[in-house]
């Protein structure tokens, strides 16, 4: 501190010069400067202050214009009382004060140096200050930004590395350690420990891509597998950059790594699902049409639909259903949409459909309405039931045919019953009728087994002479070629053989211990082949010609003739009964049997 004596020694001019210099300095500094003088009330309490001086920057920092001469409360009417109290304390105590303080009234934050002028008990204070509102705001937002980044990294489970080649320092965040299945407090953040956790199969690729990125402007992006916590294999996506200095020397590599295992799984599931349903759509043997419910126009169709209709995919897309011949007209099309809105699903059976070439198809349509993202779509499954319809008609025809045959057969049974009733006594009626019905049924059995196409003659004989099956080959001899009889011929010849057998067992060659029957048949060759079959009995008791012609005779004679449009002869020679039936082979044999060499 200069003494009073020294001060008086200095020239007034020098002092003034010095003051001017300081004043100039204060006038031009960046900070705001002002000199204030406290004012007090009667009780000696500070109640205001007046600006005695202010520099150029003052207005910029405070927003107060022409402050000099004004009191603080004139400049800022609702100025907080603490300002006055603080400066009064500085003035009273003479102790300087540096502080930061905000003013709501001024909406600013100040960093202030308050210096007492004149020592304790003076009423003047110099203020050097800055408006730090903006700076604080920036700092604040920087802190917030950093916080946000940290949160984002954590939320995205983002791992970060920052490797400086100049210092050799490699910095990882905790997520980076965790992602690699390492502990931050025990493991070393290094390229080697990173690579040690990369899946062996991916290691060469990662190393080579990473070293490729170590050049000016180099970037690194790769998805690969790492061994995570508990050595679990995880997919990660790494994205990094390289910094370099002015001479192109690589100085730093940094970037982020994200765990994409779940995302990849979802993607994989989606891809599989898409593939699976796409295949279903492409390979279905139902037509599938997808419509926009709003425009009623076709968005997509599957290949089967294009096959069904004969239109190309591109020709179908954009059309309405009635334009491709599925619904009659626009009215029906609209009605379908209305109905779908009420019920979500409609099923149309027997909808006629016409293909491009005019081919008529019977289809069954199931339409579903559902939400696809932000639009309503209708999916129509169209099944070609033409074949099914044909099969149904065929079954229905067969049922009618069976009905017809059954009734015809019953009529035949009825005729046989009526005729059987006319011969013999009522006591034997039941047995004789049963025999004849069994004979009729035997032929039916063989026909059914052969799909009603025909009956092999030797099978027919065996069936009709079932009572004597043990004698076939000994007392009943068969001799003839393979011959398949038509259903009508089989019934007529079968019934005749049955009557002949019954008679032979009662009165003829099969009624004693020694007689025999020879059944022989042949088919002549040539343009109009003839069929003939002969029943010849030998070795039986002496034959007595029947006294009257019963129904049995009718069956052997007339019925057999009628069945083959041929001629039947029966001969009651004493040595044995003989029966012979002749007919054009075409009336007896099936077409396949006729064609046989």
């Amino acid at each position: 501190m200069p003494t009073n004596a020294q001060q008086t020694d200095r020239s007034v001019a020098e002092t003034e010069q010095l003051i001017l210099q300081y004043r100039h300095l204060l006038e031009n500094i960046e900070q705001g400067f002002c000199l204030i003088e406290m004012t007090y009330d009667e009780a000696g309490t500070a109640n205001n202050y007046r600006f005695l001086e202010a520099n150029q920057a003052f207005e910029r920092h405070t927003g107060i214009r022409n402050a000099v001469g004004k009191t603080a409360l004139e400049a800022v009417p609702d100025l907080e009382a603490h300002w006055i109290e603080t400066y009064a304390r500085v003035a009273r105590t003479g102790a300087s004060l540096a502080f930061e303080q905000g003013s709501f009234a001024m909406n600013r934050l100040f960093k202030i140096d308050a210096v007492s002028i004149g020592g304790a008990g003076s009423n003047r204070v110099a203020l050097i200050f800055s408006d730090v509102t903006e700076r604080r705001r920036t700092e604040q937002s920087l802190i917030k930004g950093e916080e946000r980044l940290r949160l984002a990294l954590e939320a995205g489970r983002m791992a970060v590395w920052d490797w400086s080649f100049e210092s050799g320092e490699n910095i990882w965040n905790d997520a980076m350690y965790r992602m690699l299945g390492l502990q931050p407090d025990t493991a070393q953040a290094s390229f080697a420990s990173w690579m040690s956790r990369v899946h062996p199969a991916d290691l060469p690729g990662v190393e080579s891509l990473f070293s490729d990125s170590l050049k000016p402007g180099g970037e690194f992006h790769m998805e690969y597998r790492v061994l995570g916590q508990r050595d679990e294999i995880r997919w990660v996506s790494a994205r990094g950059r390289t910094n370099s200095d002015a001479v192109g020397k690589v100085t730093r590599s940094y970037g982020v790594v994200t765990d994409v295992t779940e995302r990849n799984l979802i993607d994989k599931d989606l891809r599989l699902s898409e593939k699976r349903y796409r295949r279903l759509f492409e390979c279905a043997h139902d037509g599938v049409v997808i419509l926009d419910a709003g425009t009623r126009k076709i968005i997509d169709t599957n290949p089967f639909m294009t096959k069904l209709l004969g239109y190309k995919h591109a020709e179908l897309v954009g059309k309405e259903l009635y334009e491709i011949g599925l619904l009659k007209d626009e009215v029906e099309s609209k009605a379908m949409i209305r109905e779908l809105n009420n019920r979500n699903q409609i099923r149309y059976e027997d909808l006629p459909l016409e293909s491009r070439t005019g081919l008529h198809k019977e289809v069954e349509v199931i339409a579903n309405l559902y939400n696809e993202g932000d639009r309503l779509v209708i999916q129509c499954n169209i099944r070609d039931i033409t074949e099914r319809k044909i099969a149904e008609e065929h079954v229905s025809m067969l049922m009618a045919e069976i009905n017809h045959r059954a009734k015809n057969l019953l009529a035949v049974v009825q005729a046989i019953a009526n005729q059987t009733a006319k011969e013999g006594s009522p006591a034997t009626f039941s047995a004789r009728l049963s025999d004849r019905i069994v004979a009729l049924a035997a032929g039916q059995d063989l026909l059914v087994r052969n799909q009603w196409l025909g009956v092999e003659l030797s099978d027919l004989i065996a069936a009709q002479l079932d009572h004597f099956r043990d004698w076939i080959g000994t007392r009943v001899m068969l001799d003839g070629p393979v011959a398949e009889l038509t259903p009508d011929a089989a019934q007529g010849i079968g019934m005749a053989l049955h009557e002949l057998g019954t008679n032979a067992a009662k009165y003829g060659a099969l009624s004693n211990e020694t007689g025999a029957v020879l059944i022989s048949w042949k088919v002549t060759k040539g343009a109009n082949p003839k069929f003939s079959i002969t029943w010849l009995e030998r070795g039986g008791p002496k034959v007595q010609p029947p006294t009257r012609s019963g129904f049995g005779q009718t069956l052997i004679g007339r019925m057999a003739q009628a069945a083959v449009q041929g001629t039947a002869e029966i001969n009651f020679a004493e040595t044995g009964v003989s029966w012979n039936l002749n007919a054009p082979a075409a009336n007896v044999l099936t077409k396949s049997s006729l064609g046989r060499p």
Binding site: A406, K407, L410, A411, M559, A562
Partner: protein, 125 residues
């Protein structure tokens, strides 16, 4: 059965099933009708319709797998009445058989005789 104007009526039987034709024949003969002929196939039926003297016919709709429709048409144009005797119910029969009285197999022989008496006077009127 003292007064039967149709006693002498001659009936044509068109039926492919020999047993049934025989039964019909026996039924008709027993009731005093005459048999004009029996046809088991369509060509024979058409020949008989065209060539033999008969007052009425009994017609099966199916002759060995062939529709008897042409025979029905020929009978209609000949102006002589006929009865359809078939295993098929009338509803399943083709249009050509409509109009004639129908009897479904199997039927009581008496019913066939009643039907014949119903159609014969009309034919003679």
């Amino acid at each position: 059965m003292t007064d039967k104007p149709q006693q002498k009526a001659r009936i044509l039987i068109i039926e492919d099933e020999a047993m049934i034709a025989f039964a019909i024949e026996q039924t008709l003969l027993a009731d005093g009708f005459e048999i004009a002929g029996i046809a088991a196939r369509l060509p024979a039926a058409l020949t008989l319709i065209d060539g033999c003297a008969f007052d009425a016919a009994i017609l099966d709709t199916n002759l060995a797998g062939v529709s008897a429709g042409p025979a029905a048409a020929a009978l209609k144009s000949s102006g002589r009445p006929f009865i359809i005797a078939s295993g098929y119910p009338p509803s399943q029969q083709p249009e050509v058989f409509r109009g004639a009285p129908c009897i479904q197999k199997p039927y009581p022989p008496k019913r066939l005789l009643e039907l014949l008496r119903e159609i014969l006077p009309l034919a003679r009127a």
